[in-house]
């Protein structure tokens, strides 16, 4: 019996070696296909060292202006609406939080009432040092070296939700079920939906930047959202940062968010 077992282990070991061999063959096949065509950037695409956004709360005239940004984002990316049966499992890319929730730890009971109830737009911060990327076991979420966008590869995500535990900004949503029945508005047929079991979030409209367009929310914001290359002193976002006092969410964590907030004076509004 023991000899049989030894034989078995030999065969098992051999099979394992073959398996490794198979992986090499698969890699070789991939190489061959890759050789079939060069891939190029779209020359129309916008380029930056690191994309950043400045949210100037003073420039929003009304709640409707803010809602316009959210709707633009959610429409263009086929973000589903809240399932009334499961409100805690909602999906959102861009939404609002009051000051005490957007900047916890900085709250103050005597903060001017105007700011206390201001609906701050919040989204993925596209951190320079993103914890979500650090923890992802498959590189499904990764930071693009070319322009600093923290991306999601929905094809690769296994839905472990480690990134959701790691994100200090609550920017990530999980598809607890098939999102399609909950996309009530007209589908954007140029952009995919998601499938159940993957994590999603704002991607700074990488698909629009690649074609030379600004992010959807920026486009409809009437200048309240400034977007550009933070490494370029002449960019829109740098002009806002140079001329205003800005804050970021939870800077003490060392993640270096790329989204800045101008709290602004009431007189701006």
């Amino acid at each position: 019996m023991s000899i049989n077992r030894r034989e078995f282990f030999k065969i098992a070991g051999f099979a394992a070696a073959l398996g490794l061999g198979g992986a090499t063959v698969a890699a070789a096949v991939k190489k061959e296909v890759e050789a079939s065509g060069p891939y190029l950037l779209d020359p129309k695409g916008l380029k930056a060292k690191r994309w950043a956004m400045a949210v100037d709360m003073a420039k929003f005239q009304s709640d409707a202006d803010i809602q316009k940004c959210i709707d633009a984002c959610h429409q263009v990316h086929n973000v589903p609406e809240v399932d009334p049966a499961h409100p805690t499992q909602e999906i959102k890319w861009l939404w609002t939080e009051t000051y005490e929730h957007a900047f916890p730890g900085n709250e103050d009971e005597f903060i001017a009432p105007h700011y206390k109830h201001l609906p701050f737009l919040v989204l993925c911060n596209h951190c320079e040092n993103p914890p979500c990327v650090r923890v992802c076991p498959t590189k499904a979420t990764f930071k693009r070296e070319s322009d600093g966008v923290v991306m999601m590869d929905m094809h690769r995500c296994i839905g472990c939700r480690f990134c959701m535990a790691a994100c200090p900004y609550g920017a990530r949503s999980f598809n607890f079920r098939d999102p399609r029945p909950f996309i009530k508005k007209e589908l954007n047929r140029e952009f995919p939906t998601r499938t159940k079991g993957v994590v999603e979030k704002c991607t700074f409209c990488y698909e629009r930047l690649a074609k030379g367009a600004m992010p959807a929310c920026v486009e409809v914001s009437n200048g309240a959202l400034a977007f550009g290359d933070i490494d370029d002193p002449d960019s829109d976002v740098r002009k806002v940062l140079d001329n205003n006092f800005t804050i970021r969410r939870k800077p003490e964590l060392g993640t270096h968010p790329s989204v800045y907030y101008v709290i602004g004076g009431k007189e701006h509004a």
Partner: protein, 131 residues
């Protein structure tokens, strides 16, 4: 042989299960798939030419799509330079399906025949057909 009854019963159960794919399909004739390229966009083309040659697409479209998605999503490259030098926007939804707007007669025809279910359409939106 000890326990011959049990062994024989076990063998029979094994054989029945192992041959299930054959026995279940016995006598069922499945028509040979014939994917159609009869779509308005393709009919308008002077020369009916896909991104690459028909043979290449037939055998390699899955690896090609795999590479396309990695290039677009991970590298940010959007343009594919074909063997004939023509440039294409790498997009299943916006390039491939613009011409092949007949998913059920083009994609599904073969995929159903070989019983593969690519999960592309869980996310990517298939063109509206019969419009």
């Amino acid at each position: 042989m000890y326990d011959s009854g049990k062994i024989l019963a076990g063998l029979i159960i094994f054989i029945v299960i192992a041959t299930l794919p054959f026995t279940l399909n016995l006598g069922k004739a499945v028509a040979k798939p014939s994917p159609s390229i009869d779509t308005p966009a393709i009919n308008q083309m002077a020369k009916k030419q896909c991104v690459e040659s028909k043979d290449y697409m037939k055998t390699t479209h899955m690896q090609m799509l795999n590479n396309w998605r990695d290039e677009v999503v991970r590298e940010g490259n959007r343009l594919y330079v074909a063997a004939d030098g023509k440039e294409y926007n790498m997009s299943l939804q916006n390039t491939c399906m613009n011409c092949h707007s007949n998913k059920s007669k083009f994609c599904d025809e073969c995929h159903n025949y070989v019983a593969v279910k690519p999960y592309c359409w869980d996310c990517h939106i298939a063109p509206k057909e019969g419009v």
